[in-house]
Symmetry: C2
């Protein structure tokens, strides 16, 4: 099977490559053509996952397909954008029909959940890696930036944190899954392999949040991005940070808290919002939690129950330390 | 230097990352925001280059930056699109400031020539590879597809072919550059390292050509794509195929012709057009050559001077044979 037949078979015919709203030309020409509705901007983001760095080299293909797309679409959610299409640059060490079938099915499953379609890509030979570029539409002037946080805003997160990072030892095979109860195991693996991009919340926040991003590097590291871009200080009350029950179950409270603060891989949203918006927001999105506030200053301050700074160092995940 | 500082230093501050027309938000948030002018579609294409497969592992960083972007932008030219922005997913084995400086300068040089801006990306650790996703705008219903070739059209190419492929032995160090005269050497290396995407021609052809693509896999293989998508036969008169002088100089006529027919790496456009359009077209783009015609049937036929099919097999470059 040559390259063209490979792409034809596994991707052009996959469920996620059958077009969608606002796609006037999909896979198969020099470019795809997307329609951005009048009055909207095209939001675009790129993520690369490399085998052995972002996922273990025995990762199940279906799960990998799901996760790779979810991680990328999460950036659209963080802007308040509505997904339209994505391209996939896939580098493969060899053709493996079973692997490709599983991967494209996982991709299609997540694409359906996110209402996004595969519109193009490239397949090359080399060490296993994939780059997704996702595109969506967001009304002009309503995109959720990192730079709008205001003194007095509440700092919120969209849901419990830490399960993605707590799952890593299980995913890597460092912990025997038999030692974990079935419900906890399922929660951990779901958090890692099929994070749900917070698209509905992102779109709801468009005219409401002052700043937002998705938590990929860890709560503290990502809040630093908001603080820096907005030129404010974000104060986080440690006791208010929602820690995923599955993470506490498998790691204990202290290590689970560390996962929630700096583990990354959560793909929940962190955002700042005026206090007056909170009631209606939590009615529609009951998992949202207030974890702190925005004040004048710089950086991120983690506070204990007495409002005193906690000096322990946490650091987000970085590739080149 | 950590990942964020790396990106900050070499890419956020690079000349090509300073925004541009139709870019309302560049690097630094979860997504970039592009403006697609009213009445236009967003054209998008992705290309991956892997070290050791698409370029030799001692490639000069500046030249590699130029070439990687040119190859990707060529797909926008082939659709008749006007470039807006691109993302870069760069996988690096290690941080090398000199390499990064050279690469970002090469990228910026080509970005300036193409009027396209870097709007985002991802940097990961791993074997050297890069994926570019380019985005542009093209008026609705005017994009140049592969599927519109009509019986009776002329088949044209935008300029001489074969120099990119003829340069490969020199680029790989298999041929001593000292054995090649200076002008020829310069032509070959320019064809390989800084192909010029045919943007002006592509935009001119929008309301005129019936089908078009850029020649990346080789003339014959790419014309097969038009033939298949348009459900027609493309007849190519071998004697009319323009062979780059530098390719003939260094390889002789027969091998240079083979490069022109099936070498790939040309990034010229192949397109079909009604005969009545030819005069004005060649006045504005004198390098355009008619190399054949479109007729009823299937596939590509290469014809000799007497109009007889040439049966010799040529094949385009494919990664997984």
């Amino acid at each position: 099977m040559n390259e063209f037949e490979l792409i034809q078979h596994f991707f052009t015919r996959s469920a996620c490559a059958q077009g969608g709203e606002n796609i006037s030309l999909g896979i198969g020409d020099d470019c795809a053509l997307l329609q951005i509705p009048a009055g909207q901007s095209c939001a675009v983001s790129t993520d690369t996952l490399v085998c052995g760095i972002h996922f273990p080299d025995n990762s199940p293909a279906f799960l990998l397909g799901q996760r790779a797309l979810a991680v990328a679409v999460s950036d659209l959610a963080a802007m308040g954008a509505t997904p339209i299409g994505f391209t996939l640059a896939l580098t493969l060490p060899q053709i493996d029909a079973v692997w490709l079938q599983g991967f494209s099915e996982g991709l299609s499953a997540m694409a359906q959940r996110c209402a996004i379609a595969l519109v193009g890509g490239d397949t090359t030979r080399g060490p296993l890696a994939m780059t997704m570029t996702v595109m969506g539409a967001v009304p002009k002037q309503q995109a959720l930036l990192r730079s709008g946080a205001q003194d007095g805003d509440l700092l919120c997160v969209s849901g419990p944190l830490g399960a993605g990072a707590a799952a890593v030892p299980v995913v890597l095979g460092e912990v025997d899954p038999q030692t974990i109860d079935a419900d906890t195991l399922q929660s951990l693996l779901a958090a890692y392999w099929s994070p749900q991009p917070q698209l509905q919340l992102g779109q709801y926040l468009r005219s409401k949040a002052h700043a937002a991003l998705d938590i990929s590097d860890g709560l503290l590291a990502d809040c630093e991005h908001i603080a820096k871009a907005s030129n404010v200080c974000l104060q986080i009350q440690q006791a208010h940070v929602p820690v995923a029950a599955a993470a506490r179950q498998v790691l204990g409270d202290a290590a689970a808290l560390e996962c929630a603060l700096s583990g990354g891989d959560d793909y929940q949203l962190a955002f700042t919002i005026a206090a007056g918006e909170l009631g209606q927001l939590q009615q529609q999105f009951p998992a949202v939690r207030v974890i702190g506030q925005v004040c004048a200053g710089v950086g991120v301050e983690l506070l204990d129950d007495l409002g005193q700074p906690i000096t322990q160092q946490y650091s987000g995940y970085q590739h080149f330390n």
